[in-house]
Protein backbone atom coordinates (compact mmCIF):
# COMPACT_ATOMS: atom_id res chain seq x y z
CA UNK A 1 0.00 0.00 0.00
CA UNK A 2 1.14 3.52 -0.74
CA UNK A 3 0.19 5.87 2.02
CA UNK A 4 0.56 9.56 1.34
CA UNK A 5 0.36 11.46 4.60
CA UNK A 6 -0.13 15.22 4.76
CA UNK A 7 2.34 15.81 1.96
CA UNK A 8 3.26 19.48 1.63
CA UNK A 9 5.85 21.18 -0.53
CA UNK A 10 6.76 24.80 -0.42
CA UNK A 11 9.00 26.44 -3.04
CA UNK A 12 9.93 29.82 -1.62
CA UNK A 13 6.62 31.59 -1.16
CA UNK A 14 4.77 29.25 -3.47
CA UNK A 15 2.85 26.40 -1.89
CA UNK A 16 3.04 23.79 -4.65
CA UNK A 17 1.48 20.91 -2.74
CA UNK A 18 -0.77 21.63 0.19
CA UNK A 19 -1.44 18.86 2.71
CA UNK A 20 -2.29 16.00 0.35
CA UNK A 21 -3.27 12.66 1.87
CA UNK A 22 -4.49 9.51 0.16
CA UNK A 23 -3.77 5.81 -0.10
CA UNK A 24 -3.44 3.41 -2.99
CA UNK A 25 -3.97 -0.32 -2.43
CA UNK A 26 -2.59 -3.17 -4.46
CA UNK A 27 -4.93 -4.02 -7.30
CA UNK A 28 -5.86 -0.40 -7.66
CA UNK A 29 -5.06 1.87 -10.58
CA UNK A 30 -5.19 5.39 -9.31
CA UNK A 31 -5.56 8.15 -11.88
CA UNK A 32 -3.94 11.37 -10.86
CA UNK A 33 -5.57 14.34 -12.56
CA UNK A 34 -5.30 18.06 -12.42
CA UNK A 35 -4.60 21.11 -14.54
CA UNK A 36 -1.01 21.93 -15.46
CA UNK A 37 0.86 23.28 -12.48
CA UNK A 38 -1.58 21.78 -9.99
CA UNK A 39 1.22 19.89 -8.26
CA UNK A 40 0.91 16.44 -9.84
CA UNK A 41 4.57 16.02 -10.77
CA UNK A 42 5.75 17.57 -7.52
CA UNK A 43 3.64 15.10 -5.57
CA UNK A 44 4.98 12.18 -7.59
CA UNK A 45 8.53 13.38 -7.09
CA UNK A 46 8.00 13.38 -3.36
CA UNK A 47 6.38 9.93 -3.44
CA UNK A 48 9.41 8.53 -5.27
CA UNK A 49 11.87 10.26 -2.95
CA UNK A 50 13.31 12.56 -5.59
CA UNK A 51 12.95 15.47 -3.28
CA UNK A 52 11.95 15.68 0.33
CA UNK A 53 8.59 17.14 1.33
CA UNK A 54 8.44 20.31 3.40
CA UNK A 55 6.01 18.47 5.68
CA UNK A 56 4.44 15.03 5.74
CA UNK A 57 5.74 11.75 4.43
CA UNK A 58 4.95 8.75 2.24
CA UNK A 59 4.91 5.13 3.34
CA UNK A 60 5.67 2.66 0.57
CA UNK A 61 4.64 -0.85 1.57
CA UNK A 62 5.57 -0.17 5.19
CA UNK A 63 8.83 1.68 4.46
CA UNK A 64 9.00 5.40 5.05
CA UNK A 65 10.42 7.23 2.02
CA UNK A 66 12.31 9.58 4.33
CA UNK A 67 13.69 7.37 7.07
CA UNK A 68 13.92 4.06 5.15
CA UNK A 69 14.52 5.62 1.80
CA UNK A 70 16.49 2.84 0.12
CA UNK A 71 14.04 0.11 1.09
CA UNK A 72 11.13 2.25 -0.04
CA UNK A 73 12.74 3.22 -3.33
CA UNK A 74 13.57 -0.41 -4.06
CA UNK A 75 9.86 -1.21 -4.18
CA UNK A 76 8.99 1.55 -6.63
CA UNK A 77 9.11 1.70 -10.39
CA UNK A 78 9.09 5.27 -11.63
CA UNK A 79 8.45 6.80 -15.02
CA UNK A 80 9.19 10.54 -14.75
CA UNK A 81 7.54 13.17 -16.87
CA UNK A 82 8.94 13.37 -20.44
CA UNK A 83 10.49 9.90 -20.01
CA UNK A 84 14.18 10.79 -19.67
CA UNK A 85 16.72 8.19 -20.83
CA UNK A 86 20.49 8.48 -21.32
CA UNK A 87 20.92 9.28 -25.01
CA UNK A 88 24.43 7.89 -25.46
CA UNK A 89 23.78 4.24 -24.66
CA UNK A 90 22.13 1.37 -26.44
CA UNK A 91 18.74 0.22 -25.19
CA UNK A 92 20.13 -3.12 -24.11
CA UNK A 93 23.02 -1.66 -22.15
CA UNK A 94 20.77 0.84 -20.46
CA UNK A 95 18.35 -1.82 -19.26
CA UNK A 96 21.33 -3.92 -18.25
CA UNK A 97 22.49 -1.05 -16.06
CA UNK A 98 19.02 -0.71 -14.54
CA UNK A 99 18.92 -4.43 -13.77
CA UNK A 100 22.38 -4.36 -12.16
CA UNK A 101 21.70 -1.34 -10.01
CA UNK A 102 18.46 -2.99 -8.89
CA UNK A 103 20.52 -5.90 -7.62
CA UNK A 104 20.20 -8.49 -10.38
CA UNK A 105 23.22 -10.35 -11.65
CA UNK A 106 24.16 -13.33 -13.80
CA UNK A 107 21.43 -15.22 -15.62
CA UNK A 108 18.67 -13.62 -13.56
CA UNK A 109 19.79 -10.26 -14.92
CA UNK A 110 19.94 -11.40 -18.53
CA UNK A 111 16.55 -13.00 -18.20
CA UNK A 112 15.03 -9.84 -16.72
CA UNK A 113 16.41 -7.67 -19.49
CA UNK A 114 15.28 -10.08 -22.23
CA UNK A 115 11.83 -10.42 -20.74
CA UNK A 116 11.37 -6.68 -20.36
CA UNK A 117 12.59 -6.01 -23.90
CA UNK A 118 10.01 -8.46 -25.23
CA UNK A 119 7.26 -7.17 -23.04
CA UNK A 120 7.74 -3.57 -24.15
CA UNK A 121 8.24 -4.53 -27.81
CA UNK A 122 11.82 -3.28 -27.74
CA UNK A 123 13.67 -6.43 -28.80
CA UNK A 124 14.12 -5.01 -32.30
CA UNK A 125 16.00 -1.91 -31.10
CA UNK A 126 18.09 -3.63 -28.46
CA UNK A 127 21.40 -2.60 -30.00
CA UNK A 128 20.32 0.83 -31.12
CA UNK A 129 21.51 4.01 -29.44
CA UNK A 130 18.76 5.73 -27.49
CA UNK A 131 19.36 9.08 -29.23
CA UNK A 132 18.45 7.51 -32.58
CA UNK A 133 15.03 6.40 -31.34
CA UNK A 134 11.71 8.11 -31.91
CA UNK A 135 9.77 9.67 -29.06
CA UNK A 136 7.47 6.68 -28.77
CA UNK A 137 10.37 4.26 -28.46
CA UNK A 138 12.11 6.43 -25.85
CA UNK A 139 8.90 6.49 -23.88
CA UNK A 140 8.77 2.72 -24.02
CA UNK A 141 12.42 2.39 -22.99
CA UNK A 142 11.72 4.53 -19.96
CA UNK A 143 8.58 2.54 -19.25
CA UNK A 144 10.65 -0.63 -19.56
CA UNK A 145 13.09 0.51 -16.87
CA UNK A 146 10.18 1.25 -14.53
CA UNK A 147 8.77 -2.29 -14.73
CA UNK A 148 12.07 -4.15 -15.15
CA UNK A 149 12.41 -5.16 -11.50
CA UNK A 150 8.72 -6.08 -11.25
CA UNK A 151 8.08 -3.46 -8.56
CA UNK A 152 5.11 -3.65 -6.23
CA UNK A 153 4.39 0.02 -6.74
CA UNK A 154 4.38 1.91 -10.00
CA UNK A 155 4.44 5.67 -10.25
CA UNK A 156 3.90 6.82 -13.83
CA UNK A 157 3.95 10.50 -14.72
CA UNK A 158 2.02 10.86 -17.98
CA UNK A 159 3.00 7.46 -19.38
CA UNK A 160 1.08 7.86 -22.63
CA UNK A 161 2.20 11.40 -23.39
CA UNK A 162 3.49 11.72 -26.95
CA UNK A 163 2.47 8.24 -28.06
CA UNK A 164 0.33 7.51 -31.09
CA UNK A 165 -3.13 6.01 -30.50
CA UNK A 166 -1.94 2.42 -31.01
CA UNK A 167 0.93 2.81 -28.60
CA UNK A 168 -1.36 4.48 -26.09
CA UNK A 169 -3.62 1.49 -26.32
CA UNK A 170 -0.71 -0.89 -25.75
CA UNK A 171 0.53 0.99 -22.71
CA UNK A 172 -2.97 1.05 -21.23
CA UNK A 173 -3.31 -2.68 -21.77
CA UNK A 174 0.03 -3.23 -20.05
CA UNK A 175 -0.96 -1.08 -17.10
CA UNK A 176 -4.24 -2.95 -16.74
CA UNK A 177 -2.52 -6.31 -17.01
CA UNK A 178 -0.06 -5.47 -14.26
CA UNK A 179 -2.61 -3.97 -11.91
CA UNK A 180 -3.67 -7.24 -10.30
CA UNK A 181 -0.54 -7.46 -8.16
CA UNK A 182 0.54 -3.84 -8.00
CA UNK A 183 -0.61 -0.49 -6.82
CA UNK A 184 -0.31 1.92 -9.72
CA UNK A 185 -0.53 5.69 -9.60
CA UNK A 186 -0.46 7.46 -12.91
CA UNK A 187 -1.05 11.01 -13.93
CA UNK A 188 -2.66 11.98 -17.18
CA UNK A 189 -4.42 14.74 -19.03
CA UNK A 190 -6.52 12.37 -21.05
CA UNK A 191 -9.83 11.83 -19.33
CA UNK A 192 -10.81 8.92 -21.58
CA UNK A 193 -7.80 7.16 -20.20
CA UNK A 194 -9.12 7.54 -16.68
CA UNK A 195 -12.33 5.91 -17.83
CA UNK A 196 -10.73 3.00 -19.58
CA UNK A 197 -7.95 2.27 -17.10
CA UNK A 198 -8.45 3.66 -13.61
CA UNK A 199 -10.36 2.13 -10.78
CA UNK A 200 -10.17 5.39 -8.89
CA UNK A 201 -9.30 8.97 -9.71
CA UNK A 202 -7.92 11.80 -7.65
CA UNK A 203 -8.22 15.34 -8.93
CA UNK A 204 -5.92 17.95 -7.53
CA UNK A 205 -6.01 21.69 -8.09
CA UNK A 206 -3.77 24.32 -6.56
CA UNK A 207 -1.95 21.66 -4.61
CA UNK A 208 -5.06 20.29 -2.87
CA UNK A 209 -7.10 17.14 -3.39
CA UNK A 210 -10.46 18.35 -4.67
CA UNK A 211 -11.99 14.97 -5.58
CA UNK A 212 -11.22 11.34 -4.79
CA UNK A 213 -13.73 8.98 -6.38
CA UNK A 214 -14.32 6.24 -8.93
CA UNK A 215 -14.73 7.43 -12.55
CA UNK A 216 -18.45 6.61 -12.30
CA UNK A 217 -18.74 8.49 -9.05
CA UNK A 218 -17.10 11.50 -10.64
CA UNK A 219 -19.44 11.32 -13.59
CA UNK A 220 -22.40 11.30 -11.27
CA UNK A 221 -21.33 14.73 -10.12
CA UNK A 222 -22.07 16.11 -13.54
CA UNK A 223 -25.10 18.37 -13.78
CA UNK A 224 -26.14 16.34 -16.83
CA UNK A 225 -25.91 12.94 -15.15
CA UNK A 226 -29.11 10.94 -15.60
CA UNK A 227 -30.68 13.41 -18.01
CA UNK A 228 -32.39 12.02 -21.11
CA UNK A 229 -31.36 13.42 -24.45
CA UNK A 230 -34.04 13.00 -27.04
CA UNK A 231 -34.06 13.94 -30.70
CA UNK A 232 -37.47 14.05 -32.31
CA UNK A 233 -38.69 14.81 -35.82
CA UNK A 234 -42.01 16.16 -37.00
CA UNK A 235 -44.10 19.27 -36.69
CA UNK A 236 -45.80 18.63 -33.36
CA UNK A 237 -42.65 18.78 -31.22
CA UNK A 238 -43.75 21.76 -29.20
CA UNK A 239 -46.75 19.97 -27.84
CA UNK A 240 -44.73 16.86 -27.14
CA UNK A 241 -42.24 18.94 -25.18
CA UNK A 242 -44.96 20.43 -22.99
CA UNK A 243 -46.43 17.02 -22.26
CA UNK A 244 -43.01 15.65 -21.29
CA UNK A 245 -42.51 18.49 -18.88
CA UNK A 246 -45.80 17.60 -17.21
CA UNK A 247 -44.81 13.97 -16.67
CA UNK A 248 -44.16 12.72 -13.18
CA UNK A 249 -40.54 12.89 -11.95
CA UNK A 250 -39.41 15.44 -14.50
CA UNK A 251 -37.65 18.52 -13.20
CA UNK A 252 -37.23 20.48 -16.39
CA UNK A 253 -36.92 20.19 -20.15
CA UNK A 254 -34.63 22.34 -22.26
CA UNK A 255 -34.09 22.58 -25.99
CA UNK A 256 -30.50 21.77 -26.90
CA UNK A 257 -30.81 22.31 -30.60
CA UNK A 258 -33.60 23.00 -33.03
CA UNK A 259 -32.96 22.62 -36.72
CA UNK A 260 -36.01 22.73 -38.97
CA UNK A 261 -38.15 19.76 -38.04
CA UNK A 262 -35.47 18.10 -35.92
CA UNK A 263 -35.38 19.07 -32.29
CA UNK A 264 -33.04 17.83 -29.58
CA UNK A 265 -34.35 18.03 -26.04
CA UNK A 266 -32.62 17.46 -22.75
CA UNK A 267 -34.88 16.20 -20.00
CA UNK A 268 -33.69 16.50 -16.41
CA UNK A 269 -35.30 14.10 -13.93
CA UNK A 270 -35.97 15.00 -10.29
CA UNK A 271 -33.71 12.19 -9.17
CA UNK A 272 -30.80 11.31 -11.51
CA UNK A 273 -30.74 7.77 -10.11
CA UNK A 274 -34.29 7.00 -11.31
CA UNK A 275 -34.53 6.53 -15.04
CA UNK A 276 -37.30 8.45 -16.78
CA UNK A 277 -36.44 7.30 -20.30
CA UNK A 278 -39.34 4.82 -20.44
CA UNK A 279 -41.92 7.38 -19.50
CA UNK A 280 -40.50 9.96 -21.90
CA UNK A 281 -40.50 7.55 -24.81
CA UNK A 282 -44.03 6.37 -24.03
CA UNK A 283 -45.27 9.95 -23.89
CA UNK A 284 -43.63 10.92 -27.16
CA UNK A 285 -44.94 7.90 -29.06
CA UNK A 286 -48.45 8.53 -27.74
CA UNK A 287 -48.19 11.92 -29.43
CA UNK A 288 -47.17 10.27 -32.67
CA UNK A 289 -43.86 12.13 -32.86
CA UNK A 290 -40.99 10.25 -34.52
CA UNK A 291 -37.99 9.47 -32.33
CA UNK A 292 -34.63 9.83 -34.06
CA UNK A 293 -32.35 9.20 -31.18
CA UNK A 294 -32.59 8.79 -27.44
CA UNK A 295 -30.02 8.13 -24.78
CA UNK A 296 -29.45 8.62 -21.08
CA UNK A 297 -26.52 10.93 -20.41
CA UNK A 298 -23.93 9.54 -17.98
CA UNK A 299 -22.21 12.88 -17.62
CA UNK A 300 -18.85 13.67 -19.12
CA UNK A 301 -15.65 13.65 -17.10
CA UNK A 302 -14.47 16.76 -18.92
CA UNK A 303 -17.40 18.74 -17.57
CA UNK A 304 -16.87 17.43 -14.06
CA UNK A 305 -13.15 18.09 -14.28
CA UNK A 306 -13.70 21.65 -15.41
CA UNK A 307 -16.32 22.27 -12.78
CA UNK A 308 -14.19 20.89 -9.96
CA UNK A 309 -10.92 22.53 -10.93
CA UNK A 310 -12.21 25.94 -11.95
CA UNK A 311 -15.51 26.14 -10.08
CA UNK A 312 -17.39 26.92 -13.30
Amino acid sequence: MIEVRHLTKQFGNHLAVDDISFTAQKGEILGFLGPNGAGKSTTMRMITGFFPPTRGTVIIGGSDILSQSLAARGKIGYLPENAPVYPDMTVGRYLNFCAEIRGFSGTAKTQRVDETLDRCFLAGVRNQMVNTLSKGYKQRVCFAQSILHDPEYLILDEPTDGLDPNQKHEVRLMIREMSATKAIIFSTHILDEVDSVCSRAIIIADGKVVADDTPDGLRRRSAFHGSVVLTVTGAATDGARKRIAELQGIASVSVVESDGDRTTLRIFPDDPAVSVADRVIASVSRDGVGIDEVFVEQGRLEDVFREITTGK
Binding site: F11, T48, F51, L70, Y78, P84, I101
Partner: protein, 250 residues
Amino acid sequence: MQNGNFLRNIWIIMKREFAGYFGSPVAYVFIVIFLLLTGFFTFYISNFFEAGQADLKGFFQWHPWLFMFLVPAVAMRLWAEERRLGTIELLLTLPVTVTDVVLGKFLAAWCFIGIALALTFPLVLTVVYLGNPDLGVIFCAYLGSFLMAGTFLSVGSMTSALTRSQVVSFILAVVACLFLILAGFAPVTAVLSGWAPMWLVDLVSSTSVLSHFASIARGVLDVRDLLYYLSVMIFMIFVNGVILQNRESA
Protein backbone atom coordinates in the same frame (compact mmCIF):
# COMPACT_ATOMS: atom_id res chain seq x y z
CA MET B 1 24.28 0.03 4.11
CA GLN B 2 26.72 -2.84 3.71
CA ASN B 3 30.15 -2.31 2.26
CA GLY B 4 29.63 -4.80 -0.54
CA ASN B 5 26.57 -2.96 -1.81
CA PHE B 6 28.35 0.36 -1.59
CA LEU B 7 31.28 -0.77 -3.74
CA ARG B 8 28.99 -2.69 -6.10
CA ASN B 9 26.77 0.36 -6.65
CA ILE B 10 29.75 2.62 -7.26
CA TRP B 11 31.16 0.12 -9.73
CA ILE B 12 27.85 -0.20 -11.64
CA ILE B 13 27.52 3.58 -11.86
CA MET B 14 31.11 3.89 -13.05
CA LYS B 15 30.47 1.34 -15.77
CA ARG B 16 27.43 3.25 -16.96
CA GLU B 17 29.33 6.51 -17.02
CA PHE B 18 32.06 4.91 -19.08
CA ALA B 19 29.52 3.56 -21.53
CA GLY B 20 28.22 7.13 -21.80
CA TYR B 21 31.69 8.60 -22.41
CA PHE B 22 32.57 6.19 -25.14
CA GLY B 23 29.06 6.16 -26.58
CA SER B 24 29.42 9.84 -27.50
CA PRO B 25 32.23 11.77 -29.18
CA VAL B 26 33.17 13.40 -25.85
CA ALA B 27 35.73 10.78 -24.90
CA TYR B 28 37.52 10.69 -28.22
CA VAL B 29 37.58 14.45 -28.65
CA PHE B 30 38.96 14.92 -25.16
CA ILE B 31 41.71 12.35 -25.53
CA VAL B 32 42.80 13.57 -28.94
CA ILE B 33 42.83 17.24 -27.89
CA PHE B 34 44.68 16.46 -24.68
CA LEU B 35 47.37 14.49 -26.51
CA LEU B 36 47.72 17.10 -29.25
CA LEU B 37 48.04 19.95 -26.76
CA THR B 38 50.51 18.20 -24.48
CA GLY B 39 52.55 17.28 -27.54
CA PHE B 40 52.45 20.82 -28.86
CA PHE B 41 53.51 22.42 -25.58
CA THR B 42 56.19 19.86 -24.86
CA PHE B 43 57.83 19.90 -28.25
CA TYR B 44 57.27 23.42 -29.54
CA ILE B 45 57.08 25.63 -26.46
CA SER B 46 59.32 23.76 -24.06
CA ASN B 47 61.63 22.64 -26.88
CA PHE B 48 61.87 19.11 -25.55
CA PHE B 49 64.55 17.98 -28.01
CA GLU B 50 66.65 21.12 -27.98
CA ALA B 51 66.72 21.24 -24.17
CA GLY B 52 68.98 18.22 -24.26
CA GLN B 53 67.78 16.87 -20.93
CA ALA B 54 66.36 13.43 -20.32
CA ASP B 55 63.46 14.48 -18.11
CA LEU B 56 59.82 15.39 -18.59
CA LYS B 57 59.80 18.74 -16.83
CA GLY B 58 58.85 20.47 -20.04
CA PHE B 59 55.90 18.11 -20.31
CA PHE B 60 54.54 18.29 -16.78
CA GLN B 61 54.92 22.03 -16.30
CA TRP B 62 51.97 22.59 -18.64
CA HIS B 63 49.61 20.23 -16.93
CA PRO B 64 48.10 22.72 -14.44
CA TRP B 65 47.23 25.07 -17.30
CA LEU B 66 45.91 22.39 -19.61
CA PHE B 67 43.86 20.74 -16.89
CA MET B 68 42.45 24.09 -15.90
CA PHE B 69 40.48 24.06 -19.18
CA LEU B 70 40.20 20.42 -20.09
CA VAL B 71 39.13 18.98 -16.76
CA PRO B 72 36.18 21.37 -16.31
CA ALA B 73 35.15 20.35 -19.84
CA VAL B 74 34.86 16.77 -18.66
CA ALA B 75 33.31 17.73 -15.33
CA MET B 76 30.69 20.13 -16.66
CA ARG B 77 28.47 17.40 -17.99
CA LEU B 78 28.57 15.24 -14.87
CA TRP B 79 25.48 16.78 -13.26
CA ALA B 80 24.38 19.64 -15.49
CA GLU B 81 23.68 17.16 -18.30
CA GLU B 82 21.71 14.86 -16.00
CA ARG B 83 19.63 17.80 -14.89
CA ARG B 84 19.04 19.05 -18.40
CA LEU B 85 17.99 15.64 -19.68
CA GLY B 86 15.96 14.87 -16.57
CA THR B 87 17.80 11.58 -16.09
CA ILE B 88 18.84 12.81 -12.65
CA GLU B 89 15.28 12.07 -11.60
CA LEU B 90 15.74 8.39 -12.39
CA LEU B 91 19.25 8.25 -11.03
CA LEU B 92 18.38 9.72 -7.65
CA THR B 93 15.21 7.67 -7.22
CA LEU B 94 17.12 4.40 -7.67
CA PRO B 95 17.70 2.46 -4.46
CA VAL B 96 21.22 3.90 -4.09
CA THR B 97 22.56 6.67 -1.87
CA VAL B 98 23.67 10.08 -3.11
CA THR B 99 27.18 9.14 -1.95
CA ASP B 100 27.17 6.10 -4.23
CA VAL B 101 26.16 8.17 -7.20
CA VAL B 102 28.48 11.14 -6.57
CA LEU B 103 31.49 8.88 -5.99
CA GLY B 104 30.64 6.63 -8.92
CA LYS B 105 30.39 9.53 -11.32
CA PHE B 106 33.48 11.24 -9.94
CA LEU B 107 35.63 8.12 -10.05
CA ALA B 108 34.50 7.31 -13.58
CA ALA B 109 35.52 10.77 -14.79
CA TRP B 110 38.79 10.58 -12.89
CA CYS B 111 39.64 7.19 -14.37
CA PHE B 112 38.79 8.55 -17.77
CA ILE B 113 41.25 11.43 -17.33
CA GLY B 114 43.70 8.86 -16.00
CA ILE B 115 43.39 6.95 -19.28
CA ALA B 116 44.11 10.12 -21.26
CA LEU B 117 47.13 10.75 -19.04
CA ALA B 118 48.36 7.17 -19.44
CA LEU B 119 48.18 7.55 -23.21
CA THR B 120 51.08 10.01 -23.03
CA PHE B 121 53.35 7.00 -22.37
CA PRO B 122 55.23 7.36 -25.68
CA LEU B 123 56.89 10.42 -24.18
CA VAL B 124 58.26 8.33 -21.34
CA LEU B 125 59.49 5.75 -23.82
CA THR B 126 61.16 8.54 -25.77
CA VAL B 127 63.14 9.87 -22.82
CA VAL B 128 64.09 6.37 -21.79
CA TYR B 129 65.33 5.74 -25.32
CA LEU B 130 67.21 9.04 -25.54
CA GLY B 131 68.79 9.17 -22.14
CA ASN B 132 68.75 7.87 -18.64
CA PRO B 133 65.94 9.65 -16.79
CA ASP B 134 64.98 9.21 -13.16
CA LEU B 135 61.88 7.04 -13.52
CA GLY B 136 60.94 7.65 -9.89
CA VAL B 137 60.60 11.35 -10.56
CA ILE B 138 58.52 10.69 -13.66
CA PHE B 139 56.25 8.36 -11.73
CA CYS B 140 55.82 10.96 -8.98
CA ALA B 141 55.05 13.65 -11.55
CA TYR B 142 52.39 11.43 -13.13
CA LEU B 143 50.89 10.79 -9.72
CA GLY B 144 50.93 14.52 -8.94
CA SER B 145 49.34 15.29 -12.27
CA PHE B 146 46.65 12.68 -11.70
CA LEU B 147 45.91 14.04 -8.23
CA MET B 148 45.74 17.58 -9.55
CA ALA B 149 43.32 16.48 -12.26
CA GLY B 150 41.20 14.84 -9.55
CA THR B 151 41.22 18.06 -7.55
CA PHE B 152 40.08 20.12 -10.52
CA LEU B 153 37.53 17.45 -11.33
CA SER B 154 36.04 17.58 -7.84
CA VAL B 155 35.70 21.36 -8.22
CA GLY B 156 34.07 20.96 -11.63
CA SER B 157 31.75 18.24 -10.43
CA MET B 158 30.60 20.51 -7.63
CA THR B 159 29.96 23.48 -9.93
CA SER B 160 28.18 21.14 -12.33
CA ALA B 161 25.72 20.19 -9.60
CA LEU B 162 24.89 23.86 -9.10
CA THR B 163 23.33 24.45 -12.50
CA ARG B 164 21.62 22.80 -15.42
CA SER B 165 23.73 24.83 -17.86
CA GLN B 166 26.99 23.21 -18.85
CA VAL B 167 28.41 26.56 -19.94
CA VAL B 168 27.84 28.14 -16.53
CA SER B 169 29.31 25.09 -14.85
CA PHE B 170 32.37 25.22 -17.11
CA ILE B 171 33.06 28.90 -16.48
CA LEU B 172 32.63 28.60 -12.72
CA ALA B 173 34.97 25.63 -12.64
CA VAL B 174 37.62 27.33 -14.78
CA VAL B 175 37.58 30.39 -12.54
CA ALA B 176 37.83 28.25 -9.41
CA CYS B 177 40.69 26.24 -10.91
CA LEU B 178 42.41 29.42 -12.00
CA PHE B 179 42.23 30.65 -8.44
CA LEU B 180 43.66 27.38 -7.15
CA ILE B 181 46.57 27.77 -9.57
CA LEU B 182 47.21 31.50 -9.22
CA ALA B 183 47.34 31.41 -5.43
CA GLY B 184 50.74 29.79 -5.77
CA PHE B 185 51.86 31.37 -9.04
CA ALA B 186 55.20 33.20 -8.57
CA PRO B 187 54.09 36.61 -9.95
CA VAL B 188 51.04 36.60 -7.65
CA THR B 189 52.95 35.59 -4.53
CA ALA B 190 55.57 38.22 -5.41
CA VAL B 191 52.91 40.93 -5.35
CA LEU B 192 51.70 39.66 -1.98
CA SER B 193 55.12 39.33 -0.38
CA GLY B 194 55.74 43.03 -1.02
CA TRP B 195 53.46 44.03 1.83
CA ALA B 196 51.87 40.99 3.48
CA PRO B 197 53.51 39.14 6.34
CA MET B 198 55.31 35.98 5.39
CA TRP B 199 52.81 33.66 7.07
CA LEU B 200 49.98 35.09 4.96
CA VAL B 201 51.95 34.60 1.76
CA ASP B 202 52.64 31.03 2.79
CA LEU B 203 49.01 30.43 3.68
CA VAL B 204 47.77 31.70 0.33
CA SER B 205 50.33 29.80 -1.66
CA SER B 206 49.66 26.64 0.33
CA THR B 207 46.06 26.66 -0.96
CA SER B 208 47.45 26.41 -4.47
CA VAL B 209 47.67 23.24 -6.47
CA LEU B 210 50.73 24.67 -8.13
CA SER B 211 53.05 24.58 -5.13
CA HIS B 212 51.93 21.09 -4.19
CA PHE B 213 52.25 19.91 -7.75
CA ALA B 214 55.72 21.44 -8.07
CA SER B 215 57.07 19.53 -5.10
CA ILE B 216 55.57 16.20 -6.22
CA ALA B 217 56.81 16.79 -9.77
CA ARG B 218 60.33 17.21 -8.42
CA GLY B 219 60.02 13.67 -7.07
CA VAL B 220 59.30 14.59 -3.47
CA LEU B 221 56.35 12.57 -2.31
CA ASP B 222 55.29 14.47 0.80
CA VAL B 223 52.33 13.33 2.90
CA ARG B 224 51.26 16.97 3.24
CA ASP B 225 50.88 17.30 -0.53
CA LEU B 226 48.86 14.11 -0.73
CA LEU B 227 46.71 15.28 2.17
CA TYR B 228 46.16 18.60 0.44
CA TYR B 229 44.84 16.98 -2.73
CA LEU B 230 42.73 14.42 -0.93
CA SER B 231 41.22 16.93 1.46
CA VAL B 232 40.23 19.33 -1.34
CA MET B 233 38.68 16.42 -3.25
CA ILE B 234 36.80 15.05 -0.27
CA PHE B 235 35.55 18.49 0.66
CA MET B 236 34.35 19.26 -2.87
CA ILE B 237 32.68 15.86 -3.26
CA PHE B 238 30.99 16.36 0.08
CA VAL B 239 29.70 19.80 -0.98
CA ASN B 240 28.59 18.21 -4.24
CA GLY B 241 26.49 15.69 -2.32
CA VAL B 242 25.01 18.38 -0.08
CA ILE B 243 24.03 20.47 -3.12
CA LEU B 244 22.32 17.47 -4.70
CA GLN B 245 20.46 16.59 -1.56
CA ASN B 246 19.18 20.11 -1.10
CA ARG B 247 18.17 20.77 -4.67
CA GLU B 248 14.67 22.15 -4.98
CA SER B 249 14.13 21.49 -8.66
CA ALA B 250 14.98 18.88 -11.21
